[in-house]
C-alpha cells in the first residue's frame, strides 16, 4: 500500500505506517485498507487521519507557515555561512591586493640572494 509509506507511525515515530510493527500501525493499515475498499480516495484517507492525529501523521511535513523554518532553515543557514565565507575571502583578497613598489622589489631581490661567504 503506497499510501502507508507516506504516513508516520505515531508510536515508533521515525518509521512509516508501512514499516512499523506496532499494534496501532496495524490497526491504521487495516483502517486504510477498509476505507480504500469503501472507495475513499487517497486524499480523503489522508484527511481522515490528519483530522484525528494532526499533521504529524504525515511522514513528509506539509509546507505551511509553521513549518517554513523547517523546510528553508537549512538553506538559510547555508546561505548565511556562504555569505560569511565570501565576505572573509573578499576582505583577504583586498588586503593582498597591494601593489609592490620598485624599491621594495629591489630590496626583496637583495635579501633573497645570499651574500658571498654566508652558508646557504
Amino acid at each position: 500500500m503506497a499510501l502507508a509509506t507516506e504516513l508516520r507511525c505515531l508510536v515508533c515515530q521515525n518509521q512509516t505506517l508501512a514499516d512499523s510493527n506496532a499494534d496501532l500501525a496495524q490497526d491504521l493499515r487495516n483502517q486504510i485498507r477498509e476505507k480504500m475498499r469503501q472507495g475513499s480516495s487517497d486524499a480523503q484517507i489522508v484527511d481522515y487521519l490528519v483530522a484525528r492525529y494532526g499533521d504529524f501523521v504525515l511522514y513528509r511535513p506539509p509546507l505551511k507557515a509553521t513549518t517554513a523554518l523547517l523546510w528553508f532553515g537549512p538553506l538559510l543557514l547555508l546561505a548565511v555561512g556562504f555569505a560569511v565565507l565570501l565576505r572573509r575571502l573578499l576582505k583577504r583578497r583586498a588586503a593582498e591586493g597591494t601593489t609592490v613598489s620598485a624599491a621594495d622589489r629591489k630590496r626583496a631581490a637583495e635579501l633573497l640572494v645570499a651574500p658571498p661567504g654566508e652558508p646557504r
Binding site: L10, V11, L24, D27, A51, R52, Y53, V57
Partner: protein, 175 residues
C-alpha cells in the same frame, strides 16, 4: 569587543532555545481535536454488555474520558490518581477500555479498584482511532456541549490534575 558581542549574542540565543526546547517532549503528538466536538460513538458497556453508551448521553455535563487497558503498564501508575479524583467527586470519570478482553478488563478493575462511573468496551480500538489515541493512557476533558477541551497524553499525575484538570473543570462547570 565587536567580535565577542556577536558570539555572546549567539550563545545567549542558543541558551534561550535550549531552555525552552529541552523542557518539551518531542514524542508528544498534540491533538487536533482540542476545541472540536468529541467524536461520536456507541459502544457496549464493559460490565453490562447489553447496555450501550454514547457520548451524547453526557451532553450537559462536564466529564473525563480516560483511555485505559489491562495490558498497559503506565495505567497502573495513574490508577491511584484516578481513584483519588473519583473519590473527591470533582468530576465524573468514564473509562474507555481500549483493545482489551472483557475478562482481563473486568479482572483488572476488580483488582485495582474502579474509579469509573462506567467503562465502555472498545475491543478493536476503532473509537480510539477516532479520538486520536496513540499511547495508552490518555485522558480527555469534555465540556457540557460535548467539545473536547483538553487532552492529557500519558498518565495523569497529581500535579497535572491540580494545575490543569481541576481548574479547567471548575471553569467549564461555571459555563
Amino acid at each position: 569587543m565587536n567580535r565577542y558581542a556577536i558570539l555572546i549574542a549567539v550563545f545567549v540565543a542558543l541558551l534561550a532555545l535550549l531552555a525552552v526546547g529541552l523542557k518539551l517532549d518531542p514524542r508528544e503528538v498534540p491533538s487536533p481535536l482540542i476545541g472540536k466536538p468529541a467524536p461520536s460513538f456507541e459502544l457496549p458497556e464493559l460490565h453490562e454488555a447489553a447496555k450501550t453508551f454514547r457520548e451524547k448521553d453526557m451532553i450537559g455535563k462536564v466529564w473525563l474520558l480516560n483511555v485505559w487497558a489491562s495490558w498497559c503498564v503506565s495505567c497502573r501508575e495513574e490508577h491511584p490518581v484516578l481513584l483519588d479524583l473519583a473519590a473527591s467527586g470533582a468530576v465524573p470519570i468514564y473509562g474507555l477500555n481500549y483493545k482489551d478482553t472483557r475478562e482481563d478488563g473486568l479482572a483488572w478493575l476488580k483488582g485495582m479498584g474502579d474509579p469509573y462511573k462506567l467503562s465502555i468496551f472498545d475491543a478493536d480500538g476503532k473509537v480510539g482511532i477516532d479520538y486520536g489515541v496513540y499511547g495508552v493512557p490518555e485522558t480527555y476533558v469534555i465540556d457540557k456541549a460535548g467539545i473536547i477541551r483538553y487532552k492529557c497524553i500519558g498518565p495523569l499525575t497529581p500535579r497535572i490534575v491540580k494545575e490543569k484538570v481541576l481548574p479547567l473543570v471548575q471553569e467549564l462547570e461555571r459555563a
